[in-house]
Structures are given as structure tokens and as C-alpha cells.
Amino acid sequence: MLDFPLLILIPLLPLAACVLTALLGPRFLKQQSHLLCIGAAIGSCLISIWLLATVSRAGAHAAHSYYNWIQIAEGHPDAVDIGFRLQADGLTSVMLTMITFVGTLIAVYSVGYMHGDEGYPRFFAVFALFLFSMTGLVLANNFVILYAFWEGVGLCSYLLIGFWFNKPAAAAAARKAFLVTRLGDVGLLLGILLIWFTYLGQLDFEYVFHNAHAVPASTLTIICLLLFCGAVGKSAQFPLHVWLPDAMEGPTPVSALIHAATMVTAGVYLVARCTPLFVLAPTAQAVVALIGGVTALLAALIALTQNDLKRVLAYSTISQLGYMFMALGSATAATSRALVGVAATAAIFHLFTHAFYKALLFLGAGSVMHAMGNVIDMRRFSGLRKVMPTTHWTFLCGALSLAGFPLFAGFWSKDEILSTTLAASKGGHTYSSLYLILFLSGLLTAGLTAFYTFRAYFKTFWGPEKIPHEAGHHAHESPRVMTVPLMILAVCAVGIGFVNAEPFTHLFHDHLERIPLVREVALEMGEEVAVSKPLVMSLSIAMALGGIGMAYLFYRKRPELAPELARRYQGLYQLSFNKFHFDEIYYFFIVRPVLALAEASRIGDLYLVDKIVDLIGTAPMMVGRAFRPIQNGLVQFYGLAMAMGAAGFLIALMWRYAW
């Protein structure tokens, strides 16, 4: 273990930037508010890269204890001892580098995108606060600190979705995001409490993971499912996925950073971090894989018919997150110990590449939106490749990567996931057939992904040139401050996959194997499960090319085909277009009863509780009213009252003493 006291700087720099921007921004910095935020992001990024190199070279994790946060009943068997200790292993260092690097690029991009906005300082203050929370989240070394930062990123997400709080849709979306993720967070909190009870107050990751064998399997399954609840909420997985598409009401850089690249992957990070627990609970693993697979397919189906460019990307994010959970769920020890490490690596690798190309796609969409006068409906513009050449080719890089086109980043990571799932289905254990079905649905999803991505691409950048009137006459390429981050991300989206291009390079895999705990689980290497890599690879290439080809056919070659198909399968089309009616179902079965309960409580409060309080309040008033006539303003009356009172006292005295 390395002592690395500088760890604290990674979250602390953005925090300082946040505080300073919040204090100085509105008065002094104004349109220069981005300087502190970008500076802090670059600083954190440099330290993260240094940390990555250090961890990689030393082959051990870096950590440092800062202070004892909560200490209760020292020496007692039920003692609680929670230290503020940061820790960075292979997983954390990769996450940190990714968060700060993408964060820096998006902060630079925001300078152009948010230019002239009234809330410019506020945007960068919350942006920095988010970087603080997110880096803290991945650096935490126990569940309590993790939970604190987990709520922190939720808060930042709320603040940034509702950034334009004057817009009712944005305010509603922010509330929805906060409430829906809260449902999952309750599960996470219960899971942490259950760990606390099970381990007698020990919440450090290391202790919990090392002693997982001693915990009964049923308890472990419940713990894992509760933790996964939190991940489902935060990462917008199937039943709680409804908040993410609405979150697109926020500014586009926010969608790119929080709702594509980093915050929504916190759930994936949590499950990956807790792999040592999940490995021992195959049922929980199967649930994770199943939810992931269902979400991936469902979101891909919805994305097929959406007309809002950002919403298509949002659903594709949900779908890709589903992929990651599918991989994590496949890290089942039932087949082979070796698979665990491979599966976790596959998920994190996909998370890593996804962050780059999805951020790129969102920023590209933002660039389009910026030029089109905030119009994002794909029916209102087309043929933009001449107007916005840089945005066009960078978006194409991202789209190819997302579609899994051979040699692009997304291709390598998606292949990893598919082969992991296939490997998990071998061995004839209880859930083999489930994993096989998931593998097939994953393949189908890959095809759908390629299709909807290129549908969006063709609809936006090809066809006759059409520009909405909101754009005015100056529909133009975005400024350099926006296009340069796009270009850097495009290079990453093309090339970043080569760090782990199985079976040629294993850089990423080797680095992650340094997660001490995963390595420990994986140490008892069983025999490698034989998965025919070329088979998976060729299948996935076929699906990707097929999807792209279909999109080309429908939206370039014969544009009349798509509406005709939609007409013929009207029911299916409507189902997808209306997002499988999830919002309506939730509204009817959950929101309405809750609203009714709220109304009932309101009435009870208004007419029962308030009335009783009012009654108590009126009693002194009534007494006062009874005595009011005494104050009639006549001096003689007062004198008489005084004299009679004195006489009364005297008579009483005499009564007492004289008789």
C-alpha cells in the first residue's frame, strides 16, 4: 500500500473552485467565472494521471487517512469507527482520470455553450461541486463516505437539471430526477445499514469484502440486492429509468457530463466495487444481469422512434448502462473464478469508452442545438453536414463508436461484454439459460443500437438542408472553444479502445487486476472458459453493420419506407414512441395515489389539526373580550373600581381578624 497524501487534493481543488466561484462569481468574476472551475479540473486531472501512473507502476493501491470522522464507544465490541480515509486502487484511478479528463473538456466546451447566460457563475460553481462529489465518491474507502458523496452527486444533478428553473419543464424534470433516484437511495441506505448490523459496525470496504465468506448467503443476497437498488436508481435502470430522458431539460454540457459520462455510471462503479460481495450471491448476480439486459433492450427499442436528438442519446445511455450491468451480473463465480475479473473489467472498460464517445455525442448534439437556436427536434432540421463540418465528423466518430463499428472504442468494449455473457452461460449451472438469453438479447440490442444511432445521424446531417427559423440567418459552426473539445473527444472515441483491444492488448485489464480484492477472488484461477472470440466478434460486427445498413436504407436510400413501416405496425410504433407508457403507468399507479394521499393529508391538516390549534388560540381572545368593557375610558369608573377593590380587601381583612 502506498501513502499518497495528495489524494485529498483531487476532490478539494474543485471544492475550493466551487466556493470561490459561488462567492466571487456574481459580483466580480461574472463572465470569467469559468477560470477557477477549469483550473481546478485541470489540476485534478493532472494529479489523477500522476496517481494512475503511480498505482500502475507500484502495483498496489494508494491511500491516506485524514481524520477520524465518527468514533463511538471505543474498545466496546459494538464500537463504531469511521475514518475519513481516501483510497485509490486500479478501478478508482481509472475512474478518476476519466472523470477529471472528460470533466475538463466539458468545462471548456461550456465556456462556449453557456456564453452570456444569466446564471453563468452559478453553472460553474455547481459544475465544480459536482466534480468534487464525483471524485470523492470514487475515492471513498467506506460505505458511509461513499453514501455521503453519492447524495452529493444527486444534489448536483438536481441543481443542474433545474438550472433553467424558470422553465416549468426543467423544474419538473429536476424534481422527478431527485425523487426517482431517492427511491433507489433508500435501498442503498438500507443495504449499508444491513452491512452495519451484519459486520457489527464495520463499514470499511476492505473489512467487509475480506469477511464476506463468514456471512450467511441469504443475508449477502439481500445486501447485494439492496445495494443494487441504489445502483438502479442512480444509473437509471429498468424500473427507475424514467428520470434520465427528462433530465435532458438541463444544459447540454450537463447532460454530457452528469447524465452520460460520470454520475449515471456511479451505480456501475458501486456494483463493480462490491464485486467480492456479489460473487458470493449468484441470485443477486442473476438479478443484476437480468435487469441490465432488460433495460438495454427496452431502452434501445424506445430510442428507435424518438424524434428528440438528445432523448435518443439519453435512451442509448440507459441502454449502454444496461450493458454494463449485464457484464457485472455475468461475473458469476459459478462458472469460473477467472471470469469474475474478466467481467468486472469488461463492465468498467465499457464504462470507460462509453464516457468518451457518449460525452462526444452529447456535446455534438449540443453544438447542433447551439447553432439551431435551441431546436433539438430532428424533424425540424436536416442536412447539416455542410453547415457544421467539424460537428459532423466528430459526431460520426462518436456514432460509429456507439454502434460498435470495428476498431472503434465501443466495438472492443461491447465485444468484451458479449463474450463475458456468453461465457457465463457455459457450465450448466442454475442460470445458464438466462445468460444465454441475455447474450442473444444483447446481440439484438447491438443491432438496434447501430440502427437508432445512424437513424439520428442520417436525419441530422444528411438529406436536404433544412434549418429551423429559430436559428436565424447565422446557422454556423460552433466557436473553437466548443469544437476543440469535440475533436479531442473524437480522437479518444476512435482510439481509446486500443488500451484493451482483446486479444491483442490487455493494458486496461492488467491495470484493473490490481484491484486487490477482485484479484484475490480471481486468484484461484479455474480453467479459462473457452469462448470463441472470433465467433462473438463476427456476430457483433454483423449486427453493427446490419444496423447501420438498415438505417442507411430507411433514411437515405428509400426515405418513404420508414413511415410506411410505422403505419403498418402502428401498435408497435406507438408503443415505442410512447416509451412503453411507463410514465403513464407510474403516473396512474404511483403518482396519483401519492398525490391523493398528499391531498388527504393537506385536508386533514387544514381542517382538523389547524382547527384544534385555532380553537386553543381563540380561548385567550374570548376571555379578553369578556373583560374588554371594563376599559371604558371613564376615570371615575376606574377610581370607583379601585375604591371598591380596596374596600373589598379591607372587609376581607376585617372578616379575618375581627371576627
Binding site: 374588554r628 368593557p629 376599559q631 371604558n632 375610558g633 371613564l634 376615570v635 371615575q636 369608573f637 377610581g639 370607583l640 375604591a643
Partner: protein, 143 residues
Amino acid sequence: MTPLNLLHNYLVVGAILFALGMVGFLARRNMILMFLCSEMMLQGVALNLVAFSRYHGNLQGQVFTLFIIAVAACEAGLALALVFMLYRTRKSLDVSLWQDIREVGEPPIADGEPLPAPPEPQGFPHLIPSGREPSKPQEAGHA
């Protein structure tokens, strides 16, 4: 005449003084008269003290009376100033004109006998510069 009889006589006179004062205070509306009546009640009490002092053969009651006289003198100054201020506001010594300072919303107590009409405001005489008529009559009381 025994000392006890003597004491009784004094006490009776004191009680009469006090009762007269109280009746006057409760029955009159003229503020100056009310003030004088209250002085009378005070003197009735003072007489009691002197009488008891004589009866007991010590000086405590007399000393106390001296104090009462001193306090009454101060109080007279204050009360007259107050009465004067009240008079300046209402141009009348009638205490029932101050009935308005009662609880908000309570009906006024109507007198059986209506109040006499307020007297004409009586301004202080002005000295006119010789040979010249004043341009406009000045307001009374501010000369």
C-alpha cells in the same frame, strides 16, 4: 377626656375628610377639582397618622406625615402640569372628554345629562403695533 376618646375624634374627622375627598373625586368631572379631592383624601390619611402618633406617644407618625406633605407637594406640581397639558389639548378641564382612550370597539358611555357646549376658545390678547392693523388673525394659544 381619655386619650382613646381623643383618638376617636381625630379618626372620625380623618374619615370624614377621606370620604368627602372620595365622593368628590368620583362625582366631579373637573380635573382640577378631582385633583384637589385626591389631596383631601391624602390629608385625611395624614390626620390619622398624626392622631395615632399622639396616641402612642412617639414621633413616627409625624415623621411619616412630613414625608407625605413633601411627596404631596411634588405630586401637586406634576399633576398640575399634566392637567395643563390635557387642558391645552382639549381646551377644557372636563375629564369625560378623554373617554376616547378606551378599548377599541367599545361603545361610549353616554351621560344622562348632555355635556355643556365647549366654551369659545379664548385667545390671549395680542398687542397690535401702533397704527397698524394685523394682516391676519393669529391662532389662539400660540402667541
